[in-house]
């Protein structure tokens, strides 16, 4: 177990390192430099530009800049964001919890929903219930996420104004509401984005659940259980589920990049200022420091999540550790 753990940790670190390097290269190979947005405009004199570039070390050779960048990460100094005009660290500290909240809730709901639906399908395999659920799931799986978000927004915020059209909290009243109403305000703003994300992810989870259940159905102990007189439904629920859960946990690990990058459109449509929206806006504004740090943080989250998922599976299933 320890060897496995160390092996996976090393792998995770090397991946993060590679991601950092690639992002750094990508950003520095692009035309312009991190200060272009702030400086390359008419009215700023040449000497001011040179002074700023020197102050931020941008006139040094690429190798030296890279080493400085690497050294600054563990210190938590991620640079200065010119589009937000605040330190990058502050911007990310605000944005990351918001995405984690959204993605976390969506993940939890979609797994619960997906597993339940997958089981429902497997219980009555081949029935019309199974087939129709399957079609609905495939439909949800095929829908473009930004389109679903736009439709949800159009329907529930504009045509039938039940829910707020975006943002995290009411811009005026939130701080002046009593605690209970404040909670309600936050919940109201969460409903649409979480609902959209949940619908999209649960389709994938349900399909995966169904397929992994089916994978264990032909197994020996399943046949034995049936032979012993256990009903199909109980057999599915008791034995198959436990085994299939393992693969579902792996899916959790695999869906992290999906969720980390996949919240982008939902965040954009619902104006939810999380990592996805912040990074995309940073890219549009060429805020290099923020882009690099944003991609780095997202990758770390993804890698850590995958690592945890793998470890959970390894802890549960001895076969995996042997590889």
């Amino acid at each position: 177990m320890r060897r496995y753990l160390i092996g996976r940790l090393l792998q995770a670190v090397s991946v993060v390192f590679l991601v950092t390097t690639l992002t750094f290269l990508l950003v520095h190979l692009a035309p312009g430099d991190p200060l272009s947005a702030a400086l390359d405009r008419p009215g700023v004199s040449e000497s001011v530009r040179a002074q700023w570039r020197a102050q931020f070390g941008l006139d040094r050779p690429l190798g030296e800049q890279y080493v400085r960048w690497l050294a600054s990460i563990p210190r938590g100094e991620l640079g200065y964001s010119f589009s937000h005009r605040r330190p990058v660290r502050d911007v990310l500290l605000d944005a990351l919890p918001r995405t984690l909240l959204l993605a976390g809730l969506a993940l939890a709901f979609s797994f619960a929903l997906g597993i339940a639906v997958g089981v429902l399908q497997a219980e009555r395999l081949g029935s019309s219930r199974d087939r129709w659920l399957g079609r609905v799931l495939l439909l949800l799986y095929s829908v473009p996420d930004f389109w679903l978000a736009l439709l949800a927004l159009m329907l529930f915020a504009y045509k039938l104004p039940l829910l707020p059209p975006g943002g995290i909290v009411d811009p005026v009243m939130h701080d002046y509401l009593p605690f209970g109403r404040r909670l309600l305000d936050r919940l109201a703003h969460l409903v649409l984005p979480v609902l959209t994300l949940t619908l999209l992810s649960s389709a994938m989870v349900a399909r995966h659940q169904r397929s992994s259940l089916l994978a264990v159905l032909p197994s020996d102990w399943m046949r034995t259980a049936l032979a012993k007189g256990l009903s199909w439904r109980d057999a599915v629920r008791r034995h198959a589920l436990r085994n299939a859960l393992l693969s579902t946990i792996t899916l959790l690990g695999l869906s992290l990049p999906a969720l980390a990058g996949g919240t982008v459109f939902v965040e954009k449509v619902f104006a939810w200022p999380g990592m996805g929206l912040v990074t995309v806006n940073a890219i549009a504004a060429r805020d290099y420091a923020l882009i690099t740090a944003g991609v780095l943080v997202i990758s770390i989250v993804v890698v850590v999540g995958a690592l945890l998922a793998d470890l959970a599976v390894a802890a549960a299933d001895p076969r995996v550790r042997m590889q």
Binding site: P42, V44, S47, R85, P87, P164, G166, I168, V172, P273
Partner: protein, 567 residues
């Protein structure tokens, strides 16, 4: 009873022009100050803005969002008059300076600071603050974009604690305006500990401690910025208790927030939004003047080598032909419906030097094609014209932040295609777009401006001197006659002669067709019905915000918050 309760109910499409006409005709001057009374004090106004505030230091202001807030937090020495006069000091009203004296030779002006003026932290405002504020703008290490605009001001000296004397390099018609309009006074005792070079990233630039009638209550970047009334202010407290700026990622989300009731005010509605706001019974629309205008600029020099003329646009005939190829009125109708006017020439109609009778290049596609033929551009096999082996193909630079210009870009693409020119739309982020402007690295660009009340901006845009890196003559237009005329225009103390010189200069510019004059958006703001605004000025609708009021009888939950701090 507001202006709009009087209008009959109509179908959707007819509302907008009628609502606008009514707004203009009836004036809709709900000046809160005329119906004053203690019952009018209080209330909250939430403003939906399409961009976030980045800095609270006036010297570092870049965007309109920044300006809105700093204009409310800080004061100027004097406030420009309602007629937007920029010559001498006619019409200017005392603000931080309660009076001023011109030296007999006009090379200096002594300003007497109002002794009751206080910073939001309680310390009194001193003449040394004025000296510091001017020095800060001029400091090249700070990199303020307003620096070149106060080049005529030599320095400020302190005669005594409440008297600051401004010294000028020479006597000009707008010397008073230059100093007073461009410089907002900031507190020396708070800012002087930070070197100018570090101001951009320093925390002090975000504290917003000024002397204005509003003070900063809270700022959560990306979410909201809250101002509350400075109750002990030397000019009297603001009528409103609270102003909240709620930023949104773009225009449409901001407008959506207003229409759904989240926000009380949005500064520029599109035609369909005007219709919606006027008809839904919760809102009213108010039209106000502005100095916004836009045109398509040709680059007259070769982007790779400024000393050579542009291979396509160096030829005046080509420029005139392309101007003739475009139905500007139809484009205006498409993009703005009725909420925009055609730009007649190099500047907006609200300026004093405007003359809309100047001759325009007509829309005539037949003539356009004939002109291109005679200029040597012959249609090739695919319909695109060719001359000396070079295709009539060029780029159109526009920033991705502007939906209006995006729409114009697509319309231009098709219009030019019809006369045999192939256009490639280069839509980039704003910084890249601005960088291309400064280095003349574009073929054509869609430029939108908001000008100052002063006509001296035209010197920056259309004289040979403005072609250099610090100027804004992006098309690199150069005509010595125009240079001389604009110089005379800005040096004259007689408004009539200024107008005459400017008119002649514009006439020549328009004949040379360095740009296609496109539009002036009609600015129509949306407000919640309960808000009584004052007159909205062309240079900033927010300038009178401190005197807006909400009658006690019409207040809602958000107005009841009062001045108490957040829980």
């Amino acid at each position: 009873m507001t202006c709009f309760d009087l209008l009959p109910r109509l179908g959707a499409r007819q509302w907008a022009p009628l609502a606008l006409a009514a707004a203009t005709l009836l004036g809709c001057k709900d000046t809160g100050s005329s119906s004053a009374g203690s019952g009018d004090v209080g209330g909250t106004v939430v403003v939906a803005t399409p961009g976030d505030v980045g800095t609270l230091l006036p010297q570092l202001v870049v965007t309109q969002a920044d300006r809105q807030v700093t204009d409310l937090l800080f004061d100027r020495l004097a406030e420009i008059g309602d007629d937007m006069n920029t010559v001498g000091d006619r019409g200017f009203k005392p603000q931080l300076a309660e009076r001023w004296q011109w030296a007999p030779d006009s090379m200096s002006i002594a300003f007497h600071i109002n002794p009751k003026a206080r910073w939001h932290d309680g310390r009194p405002v001193r003449a040394s603050d004025v000296r510091y504020s001017v020095a800060l703008i001029k400091d090249p290490a700070l990199g303020s974009t307003a620096g070149p605009l106060i080049g005529n001001i030599d320095s400020v000296s302190v005669k005594d604690s409440l008297t600051a004397v401004a010294w000028f390099k020479k006597r000009t018609p707008e010397q008073f305006y230059d100093l007073v309009y461009q410089v907002l006074i900031v507190p020396e005792h708070i800012l002087s500990n930070t070197p100018a070079a570090q101001m951009k990233t320093a925390d002090v630039a975000r504290r917003g401690i000024g002397s204005g009638r509003f003070r900063l209550a809270a700022w959560q970047p990306g979410q909201r910025l809250e101002l509350i009334a400075d109750t002990g202010n030397y000019r009297g407290r603001a009528k409103l208790d609270r102003v909240v700026f709620a930023p949104s990622p773009d225009f449409n989300t901001a407008a959506g927030r207003f229409l759904s009731g989240d926000a009380d005010m949005f500064e520029q509605l599109r035609p369909e939004q005007i219709t919606q706001a006027a008809a839904d019974g919760k809102h009213k629309v108010v039209r106000y003047p502005s100095f916004q205008y836009a045109y398509l600029a040709f680059n007259l020099v070769d982007p790779k080598e400024w000393t050579r003329p542009h291979p396509i646009f160096g030829d005046r005939a080509v420029r005139r032909a392309l101007t003739m190829a475009v139905d500007r009125r139809a484009m205006l109708r498409n993009v703005f419906d009725t909420v925009g006017t055609l730009l007649y020439g190099p500047g907006p109609q609200a300026l004093a030097v405007t003359d809309t009778t100047l001759p325009q290049i007509p829309y005539d596609t037949l003539k356009a094609r004939a002109l291109l033929d005679s200029a040597g551009w012959i249609p090739g096999p695919d319909g695109i014209r060719v001359k000396n082996g070079r295709r009539l193909e060029f780029g159109l630079s526009t920033p991705n932040s502007s939906a209006t210009r995006h729409q114009y870009a697509v319309l231009f693409q098709e219009a030019f295609r019809k006369v045999g020119a192939a256009v490639r739309v280069d839509e980039t982020d704003f910084a890249a777009y601005a960088a291309k402007q400064g280095t003349h690295g574009f073929d054509t660009e869609l430029a939108q401006y908001v000008t100052d009340p002063s006509p001296s901006g035209f010197k920056q845009s259309w004289t040979t001197a403005g072609i250099a890196k610090d100027g804004s003559n992006f098309p690199a237009y150069s005509n010595p006659t125009v240079d001389a005329l604009l110089d005379s225009a800005t040096a004259s103390f007689d408004p009539a002669r200024t107008r005459a010189y400017a008119r002649r200069a514009f006439e020549i510019i328009m004949e040379d067709a360095p740009a296609i004059w496109l539009y002036e958006p009609l600015t129509v703001a949306g407000l919640d019905k309960r808000i009584h605004p004052t007159k909205m000025r062309a240079d900033g609708w927010w300038s009178g915000l401190a005197d807006w009021s909400i009658p006690a009888g019409e207040r809602t939950a958000r107005d009841q918050i009062g001045l108490r701090p957040a829980q």
